[in-house]
Amino acid sequence: MSTTRATSGKRSAVRTLLRLWPYVRPVRARLFTAAFVAVLASCTGLVIPLVLKWMVDGPVADRDPAGVWLGALFLLLLGFGEALLFGLRRWLVARPLSHVEAEMRADLYGHLQRLPVAFHDRWASGQLLSRGTTDLMLLRMFLAFPLTFLLVNSVTILVGVIIMLIQDWTLGLVILAPAVPVIVSCLLFEQRYSSVARQAQDQVGDLTTVVEESVLGIRIIKGFGRHRSQARAFWELSRTLRGTELRKARLLAAILTVIVTLPEVAIGVALVLGSVQVADGELSAGTLVAFLSTALALRWPIDSIGFLLAMSQDAASATERYFEVMDEAPEDASVAGSAGARGKGLQFHNVRFRYPDAAPDAPPTLDRVDLHIRPGESMALVGATGSGKTTLTALVPRLHELTDGRITLDGEDITAMSREELRSLVAMAFEEPTLFSASVGENVLMGADDHELDRALSIAQADFAHALPQGTDTRIGEQGLSLSGGQRQRLALARAVVGRPRFLVLDDPLSALDVHTEAAVEAALRDVLADTTALIVAHRPSTVLLADRVALLSEGRITAVGTHQELLRTNAEYAHLMSGSEETGDAR
């Protein structure tokens, strides 16, 4: 189901996470300051046991109440300092980290919008969405905690251990003993956990895809009463995810056990040894108290390492998933192609197209297509279902890149102009009329001047828009679901004609209209088409009659061009497509 399994293999979490640097860079000053503040705060915590030691061995042993006051005051100040420093750290990173998350999301969104359409055909949008939401939240949390605290905890542990070694080096060594096994287990853990973490994230993506499809395809599911089997499919996927999460938990439980038990055992040993030393008079009671409170103060830094590592792993695979998409090359903006003015209008020269992910031995979808649409002429494109009509239309605004050959607009190679420029010259109406959550007007204008709105609506016979509750300001739902198919199609048509484009590409623009509306749209379109160069995919004679000439597309090639009447007379396949009569001689 998923299109995005990681090529599992050796990968370094650190190297992956380093890729975040460009996003972190702008906030590095704050982030580093915050980390420094956190180290400071954490070390303040370590000074407290020393003050205690001083109090126990000094004023308490000497029965000096004034000294006790002084010590307590000092403790209070340290406490205030620690509290403010921790607050300062959070204050420092709050806005910048939300900013980093937002920046990454905006970049992802912007990048996705510019990736080739073929990429979107391949990737379920659920997988993309989970990268834009859950994964980025994981990354923000990584920057907020593990990144800082892996550093802070390491420094704290180091300082703590040094303090303990200075106070009593034998006890210090005892405390230090578990370090090696703990580090080894952490490394082992990291390796195993990372692949499971990645798996879990991909499964979340798959689950999102099912949710999305079951919402978008709700009419079919309901129409066939399939919501139970859909629910079962969902159930199975979520059970798989549950299994993976449980595997994660098992690994986490194991590492936590090691991290909790070993240091605690060391403290126990230190307690016994220390007590013996105190009894023998080799160690002061204050030192033992300070030593143990230091050891205990290090507990959180050590305990939390397991969680921090796990979060870092999650973050590393989130980063990997994020960059998997970001590394896809966007439509290349280079302007190549020669600009030999070879005739006006829209011209296809020996065009060949094969989908980039098609099997290498499969015949190309379009092959040796030559077609010339003269300026101001409209050409109907007729062909059997699946002959490549929609693919051909998508080549004109470069939604797909030609495999070979050239397309020229008024003599200029479409690869010789920027896509921006190209797409401002060519307007399209798609087979599937997608509308966005916005007002009717915004959906039609798509950024064009709004004085054109009424004209476009009337050409497309979409005047119903004025009768909506708030007229053309009425918001229509996601994908315009609350409008009928015919209404959506008319809005999509209005969208195509609104900017008075020089070139118009219409993919079966009238399929959902009733006969009367269709006739009215055709009458209005004729005026538009009079001085527009247009390519119109057509299934019906009525649509074909909008055009000056007709091109017949058959199995990826243009096999005939002429007027409707000519082709009806001379071409059996065309006659078959237009009348449905059983043609003679054609083996279809």
């Binding site: 009894a279 015919g486 509306t517």
Partner: protein, 620 residues
């Protein structure tokens, strides 16, 4: 595209925008469905109820684990005050006992930790599994009408980010909370037991802490609700753009979309930052209280040790305990953090789950009577049916219609005449506002879903393909169908040819929404699906609009055999369909204005004769 033109400019003012819209829009616009009071906690309770025993076990494990952990300082106190003096007297027993006990406690706390993490993970995952399933099933049970208004982005964010925030609460939050509560109780008890006075000071410090927590909860709750609304808006925009990528590209909307997305994204960034700042404020406050309390207790304790009224070991233990007592306050903050965000999410989920399906399944389903003839068709009766959408406006005024079993009826009329509404009522996508729709005398509302779908199946114009293979997609009609039956259905409808030509034939993955399969081919798949379902009544709503004429002819040829003996309602703008119909209904403003066999109507002078003439002309 997002901000309605009437909304204030979305810069400095847009923090206020949710309220502005709250007053203006309906609940759907605000993404706030009416949630019954207490629904959120009721939802949480009902999720946890089935695993009471395991929750208890998990809590018990944690209880033991905390006991093992909290024994440490007590052992330290004992070591300093008793074992050390005993050791000086050459009695080694107490110190050995301390050592052994400490080791046992360490091992026990590690082992219990292991057991706890695993047990709680199982509980958490089961709760999430349950919740995900509930959202999914409920969303599937809700009517098409609801889906049209709720938008898929929101539904997706309910089952992804909102579930995710509950996952965080369960994974980290609940453990934190229980640990915090347990250690508060344990440690307070220990302190009180060690020394009543010192303990009392520690317990007294709980009051300001409680006030802080309460204050934080109130402030953060607001921020979190805003944040979760903000992220939902981001998701809606994201999904919509990716699904409409073709028009986005062709109309050069990238830059404009970037700008609109930036507004939504910024709003989320701001609320997110606000949430983090609330947390910072809380951390400072709670730390200040805690550290002050530590200083006070040490002051008093040390003073008393100096005065000889307190043992040194007791002070040492008290100090060690105090560090631990206040350590979890930060974590309490984190718990509140995840709690707030989970609560906001749960509220939305509860709101969704509280929506009653407007097309509910029957409590006591009835069966369709056995077929009388060998034909699969059944009689359809619309009995005094009225229908209006929730938003008001009657689409179908009182409507009576009877379709005998086995009849093929073509319904024609202009856009908005009520044809699709008729189809949706018959398919039970909606229920009538008044009256009944009967299938062989049984009200559709009394039929269970499987029974209903054996009865009525609808093929619509939008032929959505699910990810999976072509065969999977056809098999939606009847999941238990064999490959042979699937191919037979595809052949009957004329889809076999193009499917066989696909790279993997029937096993070709259609990828994302059938990107590579043309609209006409998708409609053929949809037909094959309907054929495979073999229903008594088949509704075709503009189901051939994207087919070319030969394709349509082929479908019609197939239909004339397939529909034979079946009841069929065919809605089509292309009047060619009429040729296979036994009867034609012309609709206008929700009423039937002409009704009769096609030949008779064509020969007449009514609307249908008009339409038919126009259509013949269009064929040229």
């Amino acid at each position: 595209m997002t901000a309605p033109p009437t909304a204030p400019p979305a810069t400095a003012d847009d923090e206020r925008e949710p309220e502005v819209r709250a007053k203006a829009g309906d609940p759907f616009d605000r993404d706030v469905l009416p949630t019954p009071p207490r629904a959120t906690s009721a939802l949480l309770r009902s999720l946890l109820a089935p695993m009471k025993a395991r929750v208890a076990l998990t809590s018990f494990l944690l209880l033991l684990q905390q006991a093992a952990v909290q024994a440490g300082p007590l052992l330290v106190a004992y070591a300093i005050d008793s074992a050390v003096p005993a050791f000086r007297d050459d009695r080694h027993g107490p110190l050995i006992a301390v050592g052994v006990t400490y080791l046992l406690c360490s091992v026990a706390s590690g082992g219990l930790q292991y057991a706890f993490v695993r047990a709680s993970a199982r509980v958490n995952q089961d709760v999430l599994l349950d919740l995900r399933g509930r959202i999914f099933r409920h969303a599937q049970a809700l009517s098409v009408d609801f889906h049209e208004r709720y938008t898929s982005g929101r539904l997706i964010s309910r089952s992804t980010t909102d579930v995710e925030s509950l996952r965080e609460l369960l994974n980290e939050g609940l453990q934190e909370l229980i640990t915090v509560i347990l250690s508060f109780v344990y440690i307070s008890a220990m302190l009180l037991w060690l020394d009543l006075g010192l303990g009392a000071v520690a317990v007294a410090s709980f009051l300001p802490l409680y006030l802080l927590v309460r204050n934080y909860r109130r402030r953060a709750g607001r921020v979190y609700t805003l944040r979760s609304t903000a992220i939902a808006a981001v998701i809606v925009k994201f999904v919509e753009t990716m699904n409409g990528i073709r028009p986005v590209r062709a109309f050069r909307r990238e830059a404009a979309n970037d700008a609109e997305f930036a507004v939504l994204n910024k709003r989320h960034e701001r609320t997110n930052g606000d949430a983090l700042l609330e947390m910072a404020r809380y951390v400072v406050g709670s730390r200040l209280v805690a550290n002050t309390a530590v200083a006070l207790i040490v002051l008093w304790g040390a003073y008393r040790v100096a005065g000889g009224s307190l043992e040194l070991g007791v002070l040492a233990a008290a100090v060690l305990y105090l560090r631990r007592l206040y350590d979890p306050i930060d974590r309490l903050g984190m718990f509140l953090n995840s709690y707030q965000s989970a609560a906001a999410s749960l509220e939305k989920i509860a709101g969704l789950l509280a929506q009653t399906p407007s097309v509910p399944e029957p409590v006591a389903p009835r069966e369709l009577p056995p077929l009388e003839s060998e034909h699969p068709g059944r009689e359809v009766v619309f009995d005094g049916v009225r229908f209006g959408y929730r938003t008001g406006g009657e689409i179908l005024p009182r409507f009576d219609l009877s379709l005998p079993a086995g009849q093929t009826v073509a319904v024609v009329g202009s856009t908005g005449a009520g044809k699709s509404t008729l189809a949706k009522l018959l398919a039970r996508f909606y229920d009538p506002t008044a009256g009944r729709v009967l299938l062989d005398g049984v009200d559709l509302r009394d039929l269970s879903v499987p029974e209903l779908r054996r009865g009525v199946v609808m093929v619509t114009q939008e032929a959505f393909l699910f990810s999976g293979t072509v065969a999977d997609n056809i098999a939606i009609g009847r999941p238990d169908a064999s490959r042979e039956e699937i191919e037979r259905a595809a052949k009957a409808i004329g889809a076999h040819e193009f499917i066989s030509a696909l790279p993997d034939g029937y096993d070709t993955d259609v990828r994302k929404r059938g990107g590579r399969i043309s609209a006409g081919q998708r409609q053929l798949v949809a037909f094959a699906r309907a054929l495979l379902a073999d229903p008594a009544v088949l509704i075709l709503d503009e189901a051939t609009s994207s087919l070319d004429i030969p394709g349509e002819r082929a479908v019609q040829r197939a239909m004339s055999t397939v529909l034979h003996g079946r009841t069929a309602v065919v809605i089509a703008h292309r009047l060619s369909t009429v040729e296979i119909a036994d009867r034609v209904l012309v609709m206008e403003h929700g009423r039937i204005v002409e009704d009769g066999p096609p030949a008779e109507l064509i020969a007449g002078t009514g609307r249908f004769a008009d339409l038919h003439r126009a259509w013949r002309d269009s064929l040229a």
